[in-house]
């Protein structure tokens, strides 16, 4: 019989080991999944995890990994503050979309003016502002009406999805686009294009910002009073109140951070890899970022690695789909399995597993 015994202190070994264990567990379970589909499990795992980094076509796949990792990491970093404090922003996807809409609108408003030095920074600010405003809705409702932020932020994602569809065929539609839905391609407009900074690396401004966010968050959590208050609130809200933390101010600040980072991720994506405002722009980064945040244990460095790993599953999954005819839904199953495995093995951090003989009558 399995018995769980609470540890005196959270185990440091397992804090670092559980994400690795979760990844291994997912590989095993994923391999089994592929085997039941009739595919060679080892080949599949290799195609997904190994080839994109070091295989034959890695020169093509590696930049793709960075491009996919940037929004995941940006959003996950933003979410990690709130999650650490028990503030659940589940609507990052919506904030990401609205940030993209706002940023793209600024660019298109200036078209065809060539003044990148002015337009690009304005776009970034608009992206941040858009995400912040969208995030303020659940935040203020929570502070003033005690509504559940999970529900409100999630519902607003659907609103944002409808909005972007509407804009792509209405206000933001490309007038030179022969009537097709979609805005102008921002990649082709030099003032707004978010292209790679170094050829062949896939590193665009979003990647740079993501790295900066990781470093800044590390410093804030370790050395700044705000980071300490976030951690303390997550530990014990009563102790946080005793330490003088203003709960409402904390909620709003966490939503501002996560909304702003999600919004700017949306801006970098629409001005970069995606290119234009389209109904199909939303790519669920806002939701996958939640998995990335927990896989990285809400720690900035962990999120960095988790984001890269998640991006790898996207890119590798696409490669496997092409090379081995594996259905694309498998990627999402993988990502879900990662989260499941992590949540299950997480019990080892706080509890010791003991096998005891069943008790007699």
């Amino acid at each position: 019989m399995i018995q769980l015994e609470k540890r005196k202190e959270p185990s440091t070994f397992w804090i670092y080991a559980t994400p690795l264990l979760a990844v291994l567990l997912t590989m095993v379970l994923g391999g089994l999944l592929f085997a039941t589909l009739g595919k060679d499990p080892f080949m599949a795992i290799k195609t997904i995890f190994w080839d994109p980094i070091l295989g034959e076509f890695a020169f093509y796949y590696r930049p793709e990994v960075f491009k996919k990792a940037a929004p995941l990491i940006l959003i996950a970093i933003g979410l990690s503050y709130g999650f650490k404090a028990g503030i659940w922003n589940i609507g990052a996807e919506g904030q990401y979309i609205i940030g993209a809409i706002c940023g793209a609108s600024v660019a298109l408003a200036f078209y065809p003016l060539e003044a990148r030095w002015m337009i690009f920074p304005l776009m970034i600010q608009a992206g941040v502002a858009g995400g912040v405003i969208w995030a303020m809705i659940p935040a203020l409702l929570r502070v003033y009406f005690k509504t559940n932020e999970i529900l409100v932020s999630l519902m607003l994602v659907y609103v944002a999805e409808v909005l972007i569809k509407a804009f792509s065929i209405g206000l933001l539609r490309n007038p030179d686009g022969h009537g097709f839905p979609g805005s102008r391609n921002l990649n082709q407009y030099s003032s707004s294009a978010n292209l790679e900074l170094f050829a062949g690396t896939g590193v665009h401004w979003g990647v740079v910002t993501a790295l900066f966010a990781v470093v800044a968050t590390y410093v804030i959590l370790a050395k700044h009073q705000f980071g300490f208050f976030v951690r303390l609130t997550g530990e014990s809200s009563r102790a946080a109140g005793f330490a003088g933390v203003n709960a409402n101010r904390l909620i709003i600040t966490c939503f501002v951070i996560s909304g702003g980072l999600a919004g700017v991720a949306g801006l970098f994506e629409v001005a970069g890899p995606a290119g234009q405002i389209l109904g199909s722009f939303p790519a669920f980064y806002g939701f996958t970022a939640i998995i990335v945040a927990f896989l990285g244990r809400l720690h900035p460095v962990g999120i960095l690695f988790a984001g890269l790993l998640m991006a790898l599953t996207y890119v590798g999954g696409n490669a496997a789909e092409a090379a081995m005819n594996i259905p694309s839904a498998t990627i999402q199953i993988f990502q879900g399995m990662l989260l499941f495995s992590l949540l299950s093995v997480d019990v080892l951090t706080n509890y010791r597993v003991r096998f005891v003989a069943a008790r007699g009558a």
């Binding site: 005196k8 202190e9 009073q225 951690r231 530990e235 102790a239 005793f242 003088g244 203003n246 009558a361």
Partner: protein, 505 residues
């Protein structure tokens, strides 16, 4: 009083890192009031949980009336005639007395029959109770009655009571004792767990003393003095805190007509609380739990804000200020709940030090934290207050209750407050740590600080307070000097028996 009801032999139970009970043996006779004596952490709770079937012993055996007794769960224990009144009650505030009692029964009779039974039994044993009242409005003493009546309805042979008088005023204690004497005369045995020596000497026939899990002795308490019993409990004699003659200075803290609505339906609202504390004075505020202690501490610490002039420090209105602003002005507090309020359980002692000392000890500059200073401060506290822990990096939850409390109090004392408010400073703490905490509070007062000690432990308040007031249902009694105050007078200030009738037919 001649037959043996329960025979306990060699009971042993170990948990990781600690042997809770080590080869404990004693007998309880029929109609005997048997005390189980020991300080916090001695193993009383574990032993009693084994008797009640909540925990299975590793070794040893029990026999009831010479028949082997090994209950696997409380239901079996109850079926064999063992009933228990816990220290912390399991009652639902929103339901009536009768509904609560029915919930704990296997086959409850109809509400009407049950109400009749409750009335009859409660009158019979001198603990009258109206079955239709909602539990939420009952005082702690009345709630205990509900628990006791619940047990008595099962006609137990052995009634176990865990720290029964911790929630009673002195008058209510006497009422309880009369009930116990009646039960005894009918042949019911009582296992009475307590650390209150005077009560045990008054009501108990036999006492078994536990220390660090082992049985020290089984004796007749009335043959021994309270001091002898204390020394057997603790295993050493230690100094009672010394009070030096202190000169009282100016009034530092002034609380005027403090009124605060309860945070939720079953909290306690404070009404018109008024008092002052001078430099060098220790004001003891007594009262049974649930009469507004937490609320009073929140109002003073700044966690709950009030109209500005209700709380004044050095003549300055501070009622509208939050905890950190009050800390900067020299007002510090230590709440009752160690893990989850005074300290964050999973955070290290260094982080817990930063939690309250950040502003006062200059650990924050433009928002950035000086962890080196926090570590230094934490290590200072650990060293000066003899906190047993491998290092300051250890999580708060890994410390024993007594050590964590020493840290929590020490953390505030070393910040040199001008006013310190503590709530239940030695609850659940071993005797040696409790003595050092009380001495630290007295030393702080000698240094000129104003101290407010909110406590349920009257012995503690009698030992260290200069003045005394009692909190009863959110209202503060008048303040009287401690010197010369009798226990009876204190009891009346705490609300006496709360106007409950006593019927002993």
């Amino acid at each position: 009083m001649t037959d043996t009801l329960l025979k306990i032999q060699g009971l042993t139970k170990a948990y990781p890192g600690v042997v809770a009970n080590d080869d404990v043996s004693f007998d309880i006779g029929r109609g005997e009031v048997h005390a189980l004596l020991g300080e916090n952490g001695a193993g009383k709770s574990t032993l009693v949980k084994m008797i009640y079937g909540l925990v299975k012993p590793d070794q040893g055996q029990m026999t009831m009336h010479d028949v082997k007794y090994a209950p696997t769960d409380p239901r079996q224990a109850r079926a064999t005639g063992v009933a228990m009144v816990f220290q912390h009650f399991s009652l639902f505030d929103a339901l009536t007395v009768a509904e609560n009692i029915a919930l704990g029964m296997e086959n409850p009779p109809s509400q009407r029959d049950l109400s009749d039974q409750i009335c009859k039994v409660s009158q019979n044993y001198g603990l009258p109770l109206d079955p239709r009242r909602t539990v939420g409005v009952l005082s702690a003493g009345e709630r205990q009655r509900v628990e006791i009546i619940r047990c008595l309805l099962q006609n137990p042979k052995l009634l176990i009571m865990d720290e029964p008088t911790s929630v009673l005023t002195p008058q209510e204690v006497q009422i309880l004792f009369q009930t116990l004497r009646k039960l005894k005369s009918e042949g019911t045995s009582i296992l009475y767990i307590s650390h209150k020596l005077d009560e045990i000497r008054e009501i108990c026939d036999t006492a078994t003393i536990l220390r660090h899990g082992k049985k020290v002795e089984t004796c007749t308490p009335s043959d021994k003095s309270a001091r002898e019993l204390a020394e057997m409990m603790v295993g050493a004699s230690f100094e009672a805190p010394k009070r030096s003659d202190r000169q009282l200075g100016d009034v530092i803290l002034e609380v005027s007509n403090l009124s605060l609505n309860a945070a939720d339906a079953y909290g306690t609202s404070l009404r018109g609380v008024t008092f002052t504390v001078r430099a060098g004075e220790v004001l003891g505020i007594g009262g049974v739990a649930g009469n507004g202690q937490d609320e009073l501490l929140s109002a003073l610490s700044g966690e709950a804000m009030t109209p500005a002039s209700m709380v004044r420090l050095d003549g300055r209105d501070i009622g509208h200020l939050g905890p950190n602003d009050r800390r900067l002005l020299g007002l510090l507090a230590a709440p009752e709940e160690r893990l989850g309020h005074a300290a964050a359980p999973n955070m290290s002692l260094i982080e817990n030090a930063m939690m309250t000392a950040a502003d006062r000890k200059g650990m924050v500059t433009s928002g950035f934290l000086a962890w080196g200073k926090a570590r230094q401060f934490a290590e200072d506290v650990i060293q000066k207050f003899d906190v047993r822990t491998p290092s300051a990096q250890n999580a708060a939850r890994s410390l024993s209750g007594g050590n964590l409390q020493k840290f929590v109090i020490g953390r505030e004392v070393l910040q040199e407050p001008s006013v310190l408010i503590v709530n239940q400073p030695t609850w659940g703490v071993d005797a040696a740590a409790a003595a050092s905490i009380r001495q630290a509070l007295l030393d702080l007062a000698t240094g000129g600080a104003a101290i407010i000690v909110i406590s349920q432990d009257l012995d503690e308040l009698i030992e260290i307070s200069d003045n005394f007031a009692a909190l009863n249902e959110g209202r503060l009694s008048e303040i009287r000097p401690m010197l010369g105050l009798t226990v009876d007078q204190i009891g009346l200030m705490m609300g006496g028996a709360h106007d409950i009738e006593v019927e002993h037919g």
